[in-house]
Amino acid sequence: MAREKSSFIRWIQSGKVNKRLCMITFMLFPLTLLVVFTYIPFLKMFQFSFYEMKYIGDREFVGWENYLEVFTREDCFQALKLSLYYIVASFIQLALALWFASILSFKTRGGGIFKGFMFFPYLVCGIAVGFIFKFFYTRGFVLDTILQWIGFNLDNLPYWLRDRSVNNISLAASSIWRYMGQNMVLFIGAIMSVDSTLYEAAAIDGANGWAKFRYIIFPSIKTIIVLNMILAISGSLSVFEPPYVITGGSFGTGTYFVVMNELAHESQKVGLASAMAIVLLGLIFIATMIQKFVEAYFLGTNGKEAIRYVRKQKKIEAQHAAQAAKGGR
C-alpha cells in the first residue's frame, strides 16, 4: 500500500503530469468565474432580447419586437443623446488633467498637496458623491451661495438639478469633479516616464514651458491621450453613476443605462432591457474597432510601426529612389 502510494505521488510529481495538473487547477476557478459571470450572461442576454419576460414566470417569444421598441420608444434610444453632454465633459476633463499634469510634473511649491486634493474625489464612493452633489446643487445651498458672493442674484439662478436646460451639465460637471484627478495622475505617470535628460537638454537650450510641452511632453504621452479620448467616448455612451446617484434619472437626466436599469430591475421588462444592452454593446464594439484602427494608424501596436508612419516612409523612399534615378541620369 505504502509503495503504491509513493509511486502514485511520484507519478503526480513527474514533470508532464504535474504540469498538466498545475495548469488545470490554476485555471479552473478563474475560467469558471469568467464563464458563469460573463459568457453565460452574455449569451442569455441574446436569448432574452427576443422574449417578453420577467425574471420569474412565463416568457413569450416576440422576435425582433424588443429591438424595434428600443429604437422607437421615447425614453430608450433618445437617452443616448445625453451622452453628448458627457462626451464634451470628458474632453474638458482630459484637457484640465493634461494642464495640471504638465504643471505638477515639474517642481512646484506644494505640488504634492495640490495633487492630493485634486485626486481625492476619485476615492469617494459613488453614493457619497451623490449626496455631496445633491447638497451642493440644492437651491440656496453651496453653489448658489458662492455665486451670490460673486454677485449673482438668486432669483436669476436656475434650479441646477431640475431645470432641464442645465441639469445635465450639472451632472456632467460632477463627473469631471470625480474623475479629473485620476486622469491627471495617469498623465503625470506617463510624463514622469519620459527620459529626464530630455528635459535637462531642453532647459540648457533655453526652451520655454510651451516648447517643452509641445516637443517633449506631448509626443511622449500622445498614445495615452488618444487612448483616453476614445475610452471617453465609449464611457460616455455607458454613463450611469452621476444621474443614478444624484437625480435618479428624473427631470430628463436618465441616461441610456439608467433607463435600462429601471426597465430591468424595477419594471422587470427583462427582454427589452436585454435588447437595450445588446444595442449598446454593438455601439461600444464599433467604437472599440475604430479605436483599434486609430491606434494602428497613428501609433502602431504590438511592436508594429504606425501605418501612417510606414506610408510616410514609403513615400520618402520612393522620392529618394526617384531622385536617385534622376541624379543617376
Binding site: Q13, P30, L34, A128, V142, T145, W177, S274
Partner: protein, 279 residues
C-alpha cells in the same frame, strides 16, 4: 521682458492650481462644516457659515446608529478581505499559467478575458441577476464575494507584465531540484510578486470598498447585509433633507479611504499609472 513673462506664467500656474484644489475640496469641506451643526443651527444658518461648536459630534453618532454603520463596516471588512485574497490568488495563478506555459488555447483565453473587459458591467447585471437568483445568491455574502472575485482583466495584465520580468531560469532551476510546479508558484514566484500584488490590492480594494450598484442589487436585505457604501442608502428616504445627518454619514464613509490615501499615496499613484499602461 523675459522676467515679466515668467512672473505672469507663475501667477497663472498657481492661480489655476489653487482654483483646482479649491473646487476639488469645496463640496467635501462644506459637508464637514454641515456635519458639525446642530439641527437648529442647520436650519437657521447659511451652509457656508462655520458651526459654532467644532466638538458637536451628535450628528455622527446619530448617523452611525441610523445607518447601522457598525454592521456595515464589519460586512465591508469581511467582503474586502475575502475578495482581495480570492481575486489575487485567481489573478496570479491565471497569469502564471498564461505567462509560463505554452499551450493550445493560451491566446484564446487571453482574448476571452480581453473581450470580457469590453462588456459594460451595468449592462451585464441584467442577466447576471438571473444567474445569481438561480444560484440562490441574492442576499448572500459568500455569493456576493464570489461575484466580486470575478477576474478583472486589468489585474491579470498587471500580473502578466510582472511575470514577464521574472526570469524563467528561476523556475527551471527549482524544477531541476525536484520542486513541483505548485511549489515553484507558491514558494518562489508568489513572494516575488509582492509589488504587483500591492498595486492590485489597492486598485481592487478601492473598487470593492466603494462598490455601490452591485452591492445594492445583490445584498438587498439592508438589515443584515448592509455595506459601508450601501449604508448611506438609508438616508434617501424620509431623512432625505436632514443634511446635517447625511453629511456626517458621508464623512464617516470617507474616513477609511482618506486614511488609506494618506498612508499609501505613492503606491496608489504608481498603481494607477501601471494599470493604465495596459488597461
Amino acid at each position: 521682458m523675459a522676467k515679466a513673462k515668467r512672473i505672469i506664467w507663475t501667477v497663472i500656474k498657481y492661480f489655476t492650481l489653487v482654483l483646482g484644489a479649491f473646487i476639488s475640496v469645496l463640496p467635501v469641506v462644506v459637508c464637514v462644516i454641515t456635519a458639525f451643526k446642530t439641527p437648529e443651527e442647520y436650519a437657521s444658518t447659511n451652509v457656508m457659515t462655520m458651526p459654532q461648536n467644532w466638538t458637536y459630534f451628535t450628528n455622527f453618532i446619530e448617523a452611525w446608529k441610523q445607518a447601522n454603520m457598525l454592521l456595515a463596516f464589519r460586512n465591508s471588512l469581511i467582503i474586502l478581505v475575502c475578495v482581495l485574497i480570492g481575486s489575487i490568488l485567481t489573478g496570479t495563478m491565471l497569469a502564471y499559467v498564461l505567462n509560463r506555459f505554452d499551450f493550445v488555447g493560451n491566446g484564446l483565453i487571453r482574448n476571452l478575458f480581453l473581450f470580457a473587459s469590453l462588456l459594460p458591467g451595468i449592462a451585464m447585471q441584467v442577466t447576471v441577476y438571473q444567474i445569481m437568483y438561480t444560484l440562490g445568491w441574492i442576499n448572500s455574502l459568500p455569493g456576493y464575494i464570489v461575484l466580486m472575485c470575478g477576474t478583472d482583466v486589468m489585474s491579470i495584465y498587471i500580473f502578466i507584465q510582472f511575470f514577464e520580468n521574472l526570469p524563467t531560469s528561476l523556475d527551471e532551476s527549482a524544477i531541476m531540484e525536484g520542486c513541483t510546479y505548485f511549489g515553484v508558484f507558491f514558494r518562489i514566484l508568489l513572494p516575488l510578486l509582492k509589488p504587483a500584488i500591492i498595486t492590485v490590492m489597492i486598485l481592487k480594494g478601492v473598487g470593492t470598498y466603494n462598490e455601490y450598484y452591485t452591492a445594492n442589487l445583490y445584498l438587498q436585505d439592508k438589515n443584515r447585509y448592509v455595506t459601508v457604501a450601501t449604508s448611506l442608502f438609508k438616508f434617501t428616504g424620509p431623512l432625505g433633507n436632514q443634511y446635517n445627518y447625511i453629511c456626517a454619514g458621508v464623512i464617516i464613509t470617507m474616513v477609511p479611504a482618506l486614511i488609506i490615501f494618506i498612508l499609501c499615496q505613492k503606491q496608489i499613484y504608481s498603481g494607477l499609472a501601471q494599470g493604465a499602461v495596459k488597461g
